[in-house]
């Protein structure tokens, strides 16, 4: 290591202490947004400055860190943050969900179920679920304080009125322990049920908005809905083209400029693990390319 000028995990100990206090308060009041003195981080807002600060505050030398961005371990954001902590904290990193003790995530919850002892840290751009309905922060605080959550259903009503169904597909509002309405960060609503009763500790950090909130293990998390329009997750018609998995969240990948596309697992670790186990999807690259040519001819 040639960076002795950095404290362990980049932040100084007083800052980490301050963040830990906010985290503890967040855990004590599930779903409540705790303000904290967010620091400038050596990356732009929107890259996960909140998540990075939470991770820095909870990381210990023995932790194994996994970072995912939209489910993938190999995208710029994930690679950069993993490298950042490998450099400043010298912790072990992994791409295997099961091996990790701390998972920092942007926009996904891993497909493999999380277990007790694991911590998942979400990067949150806008922590306030009512933000686009009620612009005044003073008012949203009163709404949370007095549990006047009728407004959040106005948003769902608008969805049904315009699209015939609840068209919100990500950042889908949830109610935590029948008390606080919480924005689960921009994860697809497909992942919402995974938050309910999860044995892992879930922490949410919003750097620009300076808020931390948390779900302790085995917290009751319900996605909001109407009686006659119940909450539903996305469904996919076909399995993953690479590993043949069903019941997972799929990404659409455009494979050429003639409109062909394939659907693959968004969770790269899950997909790789399945392929190592011998699962073969219908659209593995070579056969997929041939099919396309035949179709075009």
């Amino acid at each position: 290591m040639t960076l002795p000028e950095y404290n362990f995990a980049y932040l100084d100990e007083q800052t980490k202490r301050m963040i830990r206090r906010s985290i503890l308060k967040g855990i004590a009041i599930p779903g409540y947004q705790v303000p904290f003195a967010s620091r400038e981080m050596p990356m732009p807002y929107g890259w996960g400055t909140g998540g990075v600060q939470v991770t820095a505050a909870i990381l210990g030398p023995d932790d194994v860190l996994k970072v995912i961005d939209q489910g993938a371990d190999d995208t710029t954001n994930a690679v950069s943050i993993r490298a950042f902590f490998a450099k400043t904290a010298n912790v072990a990193t992994t791409t295997k969900t099961a091996d990790a003790t701390v998972i920092q995530t942007r926009h996904r919850i891993p497909e493999a179920p999380l277990s007790a002892g694991q911590v998942i840290v979400y990067q949150v751009p806008i922590p306030e679920p009512l933000r686009f309905l009620e612009p005044r922060e003073t008012e949203t605080r009163v709404i949370h304080g007095l549990e006047e959550y009728g407004l959040i259903h106005v948003k769902l009503y608008e969805d049904i009125a315009q699209h015939g169904h609840i068209a919100t597909t990500y950042a889908y509002p949830v109610k935590v322990e029948d008390r606080y309405v919480m924005d689960p960060s921009p994860i697809p609503k497909f992942d919402n049920p995974k938050m309910n009763g999860s044995p892992a500790l879930q922490l949410f950090g919003a750097g620009r908005e300076k808020r931390i909130y948390a779900l302790p293990p085995f917290t009751h998390v319900v996605s909001l809905d109407f009686e006659d329009h119940p909450f539903e997750v996305q469904k996919f018609k076909q399995p993953c083209a690479l590993c043949n998995a069903t019941g997972v969240y799929l990404d659409e990948v455009v494979t050429d400029d003639r409109g062909s596309r394939m659907y693959v697992c968004s969770d790269t670790d899950h997909c790789e693990t399945r392929r190592e186990e011998g699962h073969r999807g219908p659209g593995l690259p070579i056969s997929g390319a041939q099919t396309v040519k035949e179709d075009a001819a």
Binding site: G150, V154, E158, F226, E227
Partner: protein, 257 residues
């Protein structure tokens, strides 16, 4: 008669040394329309904001007859109770509809918001009620998914009225409800209001500087000047036989047609 729905005693609101309104006492009875008239700056809106809990008072008491029979001072209610009252038992119609509506969500959601706020979670029923209320305020049912920004001034005002009435409130506050509308639209809104008020048996406190509006809607009238009540009485009596010099001036200044 049982008891008044709203009882105001010795109300005062100061802005520093300046008096917003002072020495205000009156009652509002169930089902009656009380007009507060006076010139600009006479303290009408200050008074209305005080009694509707939107502005803190400096001294005095405002008591409200709750549905459960209690008759507490509004200051003794918790903030949660007060806010619950505001979105169920009360309505507030603003002069500018943009202040009272959510301009970026559809008309149906605007009407349905109060229903959802009191725990209604059935989309079909909310929509049905919203359609019904849009009909009652003469907005075509096919405009239910349009946003208020696409509505004319008169339609916005009618939408605001529907939004306030959907929870069947008992007391409505109105601040110059026809202020920004042209004469023919004004007449239509007034006609509608008069019908709804008598159908639903609402108690209304309406602030206006337009004596014609007061004559058309209200049974009783309070005339204010410089933050004080100068004259009260039945509307027809006050307008046809004004006692106070200021009221006489006010009535005399109406253009004869």
């Amino acid at each position: 008669m049982t008891s008044p729905i709203l009882s105001v005693r010795d109300l005062e609101r100061r802005y520093g040394d300046f008096i917003g309104c002072t020495d205000i006492s009156f009652d509002v009875w169930p089902g009656e329309v009380v007009a507060i008239v006076g010139e600009s700056g006479s303290g009408k809106t200050t008074l209305l904001n005080c009694i509707s809990g939107r502005l803190d008072r400096s001294s005095g008491s405002i008591r409200y007859n709750m549905r459960d029979g209690r008759f507490p001072d509004l200051a003794d209610l918790s903030e949660a109770e007060r806010r619950f009252l505001m979105r169920t038992d009360w309505g507030f119609v603003h002069q500018n509809p943009a202040d009272g509506l959510r301009m970026r969500v559809s008309a149906g959601a605007n009407v349905g918001e109060r229903l959802m706020a009191i725990g209604d979670r059935h989309y079909g029923e909310i929509r049905h009620t919203a359609t019904e209320w849009l009909g009652r305020v003469e907005i075509a049912g096919d405009r239910i998914d349009d946003k208020p920004v696409a509505f004319s001034g008169g339609m916005r005002q009618r939408l605001q009225i529907a939004r306030n009435l959907v929870t069947r409130p008992r007391l409505i506050f109105m601040d110059e409800p026809t202020g920004g509308l042209d004469v023919s639209v004004q007449a239509r809104v007034l006609d509608l209001l008069r019908g709804l008020v008598s159908d639903l048996g609402l108690a209304v406190v309406i602030v206006t500087h337009d004596l014609a509006v007061a004559r058309l809607l209200s049974q009783r009238m309070i005339v204010m000047k410089s933050g004080r009540i100068v004259e009260t009485g039945l509307t027809d009596r006050v307008l046809d036989d004004p006692h106070h010099p200021y009221t006489q001036l006010l009535v005399a200044s109406i253009l004869e047609s």
